[in-house]
């Protein structure tokens, strides 16, 4: 065990993992986090706390993690390279570990032009792969990137994200391979709507034997409306939503219901894809729906381990 987190235990026990996302609020009020933690407890193995997602200022992911941990829920904190240099990133990793956070997801981060602080000066001292490499060295050897060796290294389970749908597609499996080499233990994919394309990517991942080296969590997004489908198809870079899905959402009488149904179908399918070790449910601003989807997808009860 690298960190002994619940998520790590699920993966190591060979069971199909479930993670979900909780977006920290745009306020100093911890209430929404507590509310979601209470509501989602027992429906997923760990919960992702986004790090100022889309460069919108939100309650910090480490603080959010601590808040949900009080409710007995395991966090995965996201750490982007956009706002912190190597000093801050390493420091925050130590801080998070000290607070009991065991899962860290390394991300480069969305550019600030997408958010609400467009005038910000970005950092990008690292990219996600360097971040993984540095964190891996820090946890295994206790060695900082600058060379200094720390007494008590953090025990952290390291994750990464990968998008099979971003161009150039040929680069995508290589990116995952690099992340594996850099020390990632698990990987969350971008939301999958185009199953054929995802499977093609997985073919390549398997051909390279990467599925044996990293636990892949397939990303899914339940959609509330046809508008959401269209938005993701047209506006979100690096996301592919096939026409048949947009059409299906459009022609549905109960769009929400259809969205849930679609999501469950997708999870059912993903369970059959060799090398997929779990799903990651990104119910953006619709966290309440997660229990229902998990239940409908037959993923309950979630495994429990002696601590």
């Amino acid at each position: 065990m690298k960190a002994g987190s619940n998520l790590e235990k699920v993966f190591e026990s060979g069971q199909f993992a479930v993670t979900a996302e909780i977006g920290p609020p745009q306020s100093a009020n911890p209430e929404p986090l507590t509310h979601h933690a209470k509501m989602l407890k027992g429906y997923a193995d760990a919960f992702n706390l986004t790090d100022n997602q889309t460069a919108v200022v939100r309650l910090s992911s480490i603080a959010s993690a601590v808040i949900i941990m009080r409710e007995g829920v395991e966090p995965v904190i996201q750490m982007t390279c956009r706002d912190r240099n190597r000093i801050a990133l390493q420091s925050d990793l130590l801080g998070a570990a000290a607070l009991g956070v065991k899962n860290v997801l390394c991300l480069t981060g969305d550019h600030q032009t997408f958010g609400n602080e467009k005038g910000a000066k970005n950092v990008f001292d690292f990219d996600s792969i360097v971040e993984l490499q540095v964190f891996d060295q820090l946890r295994t050897q206790g060695k900082q990137v600058g060379g200094e060796v720390l007494k008590d290294p953090p025990k952290t389970y390291l994750g990464c994200a990968e998008n099979p749908f971003a161009t150039p597609y040929e680069y995508r499996a290589s990116r995952l391979a690099k992340k594996v080499a850099a020390g990632a233990d698990f990987c969350q994919t971008q939301a999958i709507f185009d199953m054929d394309m995802f499977e093609k990517w997985m073919d390549e991942v398997r051909a390279r034997g990467l599925d044996k080296k990293i636990h892949i969590l397939a990303g899914v997004i339940p959609m509330k409306s046809a508008g959401a489908a269209r938005y993701m198809k047209n506006k979100v870079p690096g996301m592919i939503v096939p026409d048949h899905i947009v059409d299906r959402m459009k022609s549905a009488k109960d769009a929400k219901g259809e969205g849930i149904k679609l999501c469950v179908e997708q999870i059912e399918h993903l369970k059959t894809v060799k090398g997929v070790h779990g799903v990651h449910i990104m119910a953006v601003a619709w966290e309440d729906i997660v229990p229902r989807i998990v239940e409908m997808a037959g993923l309950l009860p979630r495994p429990k381990f002696e601590s």
């Binding site: 032009t113 005038g119 000066k121």
Partner: protein, 233 residues
Amino acid sequence: MIVAKRKPLNEIAEMLAPYKKVTVIGCRSCVAICLAGGEKEVKMLVSALKVKNKRDGRKQHIEGTVVERQCEKEWVQEIEAQILDSDVTLSMACSLGAQTIGDMYPKHLTFPGLNTGMFGVPEEQGVWSEKCVGCGNCIIHTTGGICPIARCAKSMLNGPCGGSANRKCEVNLEVDCAWAAIYDRLKLQNRLDLIESVTPAKDWSTSHSGGRRVFEREDAKLTPHQKKGKGVT
């Protein structure tokens, strides 16, 4: 102007080692003026590499040439044959020149011979110092004509930090504190009132932080009708 510095020769030699035919291309603009990649440097580099090859018993054909401005296609085109006739081009221009050649001849290998450093001022013969970082939003009319973004190690906007001692920068005691210089200048100009006003957060979206920048001037651009060759029909 753009200030660059030659890469250590061992690094260059190593880069070029696998190739049989090398063309070294200098530039007569900024890098010539900052003594990094003009004709003289090209010739010396070619000769030095040949001496090294002689020592190592390596057979490698190296020749050098210079263009007026390597960052512009028209000038590079003049030596197209020479570029394409070689296995690799070592650009002795700033990275702009190297990338121009690379973009023009994507199959061809173009390697950098220089490390492009900064926008610098030739202070005196052999000394260049950074005075601008190209933030895209100049404020020096409020700072006595001295840029704190480039000349302060912390790019501070509201005066000197607490590490300033003897009017020198804490990061490098050889370097003058930018804000000490700004203070002196404002005092000289009778504009010390400016040091009292709080400069708010800078908008970095005009800098590289806002993404790669492309400047365009519609009135200067050639219309498709004006372009030679591939215009409209």
